[in-house]
Symmetry: C2
Subunit: 371 residues, 2 copies
């Protein structure tokens, strides 16, 4: 597993040779474990559980544990006593997705049939496969009903899939900054990210070691993606056309604008914590997610859901634009479901769902209280 990880990570074996996990691609996995973390306390009747689903490069470490203050969770500000995900009230679960590289089974795992890392022999997984794996994790904790499932971006895709696949387990669903099917522009950005990795000779068709991996390609994939997480406006506010350490152009090809340095820094940081093959698998799962294709129409997709929905979109998010959030809302309305819609005015683009605590909190707190 990559990077410094929390000591609070737990592992659940959710598939075995006797109980394999069947995948949408037609293959099955006979050994699957999920890494997960919990926050707060499960109440005696086990009905205060919120499942949080993470985004593309997230992990189980959604919040910060009291004895590990230096290891901030990716939704650190959102989770804790009296915060949105109030650990005095709720029992929070977050698991690393199937296909990930943060403790759950994925292409970095050892294939017991070959005693080598799977690499690209790992089967392609779908969002539904990820959700089916999580379902087994929740079952293993003897929790039969989730107070809510909540997540942003790829996490929001999982939220919708949860409400559709397990309608009797999900009381409330909160898909944030997400889409019922990725736009061709989104597919295009994922494809160029994958090309960056695959072009790197160190990728070697997915057979690389932890010592020699496609670091340049993975860093470039992250840099490309990072642009799509910000907005034109937030980049102007944050970087403008500032140069590093100077007012003068250097007339060379080394990064010199602040925005270039920042992207290169983000790329180099990313390769310390993420696996290149996982990046290929997870982006492909995102590309494949298409509730209309899978269920015939979006309204049909939601027809059997029982959850109360809160859909949240962000004004400057151009990767998962608000018209996509509105498509979810319309389909739920057409299916006669209980749905609220919240559009947050923000400068921060897609990343807003990680940043806009003050604007999101009133809606989320109120919604979670009134389920």
């Amino acid at each position: 597993m990559l990077g410094t990880r929390s000591k609070h990570i737990q592992y659940a074996t959710i598939a075995t040779p006797m109980n394999p996990l069947k995948l949408d691609c037609g293959k099955e996995l006979t050994e699957v474990r999920l890494a997960y973390e919990t926050f707060g306390t499960l109440n005696p009747v086990k009905d205060n559980c919120i499942l949080i689903t993470h985004a593309l490069t997230g992990d189980s470490h959604v919040g910060t544990h009291a004895d590990e203050e230096e290891l901030k969770g990716w939704w650190h500000d959102f989770l804790g006593p009296d915060l949105i995900f109030d650990t005095n009230k709720y029992f929070i679960i977050c698991s690393n997705i199937l296909g990930g590289c943060m403790g759950s089974t994925g292409p970095t795992s050892i294939n017991k049939e070959t005693n080598r890392r799977y690499g690209t022999e790992f089967p392609l997984v779908s969002i539904r496969d990820m959700v089916n794996a999580q379902k087994r994790l929740v079952d293993s904790l003897n929790i039969s009903c989730l107070h809510a499932v909540c997540g942003g971006s790829l996490g929001g895709m999982q939220v919708m899939q949860w409400a559709i696949s397990y309608p009797d387990m999900v009381r409330a669903a909160i898909p944030i900054a997400t889409t019922p099917r990725l736009s061709p522009q989104g597919i295009a950005f994922n494809e160029v990210g994958r090309r960056a990795i695959i072009n790197d000779p160190a990728w070697n068709r997915g057979n690389y070691s932890t010592d020699s991996f496609p670091s340049q390609g993975l860093a470039l994939a992250r840099m490309i993606a990072h642009i799509t997480y910000l907005s034109d406006e937030s980049m102007r506010n944050k970087f403008g056309r500032m140069l590093r350490n100077t007012d003068e152009y250097q007339y060379s090809f080394a990064p010199e604008f602040e925005v270039e340095s920042y992207l290169n820094y983000q790329g180099n940081k990313f390769i310390k914590r993420f696996d290149a093959n996982s990046y290929l698998y997870i982006t492909k799962a995102v590309d494949y997610f298409d509730l209309e294709k899978t269920y015939g129409s979006l309204t049909k997709a939601f027809s059997e859901t029982n959850a109360k929905f809160l859909v949240m979109g962000f004004s400057t998010d151009w990767l998962y634009p608000i018209y996509q959030s509105k498509t979810i809302v319309s389909a739920l309305q057409k299916a006669g479901k209980d749905v609220s819609y919240c559009e947050i005015d923000t400068k921060f683009g897609h990343d807003a769902f990680l940043l806009e605590y003050e604007k999101m909190a009133p809606f989320l707190i109120n919604f979670l209280q009134n389920i």
Copy 2:
């Protein structure tokens, strides 16, 4: 020179050891030629010339010559008898930019000091350097006054620079789909494109041959850039989530969505006609273009211009968004200049300036007639 080229290309030597071209970077070039093409006929008083400036990967072949119908110009639809750039009326010049790879001096040229291709020993050139080179070309044709200078994107930057640097030569200036300074988002996209090239081992610090060049990196750079030329809407209309040749997912990492195939096709087509080092140099020139930085303020930049301006922007262009066109207009107004603004409603994003003939024609024809 790359690709199949028009037999109508002419060459002008615009710098020699006796008359070097001084560059913004402080260096000078002692051997410079520009490749150019002309269309229509120069009138006896030599006042019917329109200089068209090309975009990032364009060239001198803006129109189609009557005896070369198969070699369509990049503004084929715009240039010819009774079209916007009416060859019955106007004498059109278009030259490949300094630093380019379509016949003008650039990193693919032979450095006479070493008898090798310049590669990255070529000095960094600015938009102003490109314009200064074009000025010498126009001088060499004994033309002292341009009826208009017109171009889109990087071409629009050249247009503004022309009006600023040579106020007495430019009667009218038509900057289209452009900006007085590239946004940090634009710099970011250029930087990831450059990284794609530089990451390619075949780039070899710029020392590569025509047989073994960084084709994968250059193709990827083009794929990334191509996304920014289209709009979310135009991609949905053109590709949607269509798969190639099938309705079923292939569960592999080969391109399978139409949009992926299209981008890969565009990338592979591009490497047959463009040079990787030129791509680095030209994107860097675009990043450096900043009229505010160079002249103190945008209003100051335009203060000495004598041209009549028509600024044109496109509603769905998110690479050079219309607020940037409006910034140009405001500065010109503040400087007390004659400026018209035309905002074209379109689905086609940045590429609209190459496509929206019907919508652009009335404004351009009328403007060109009334200079």
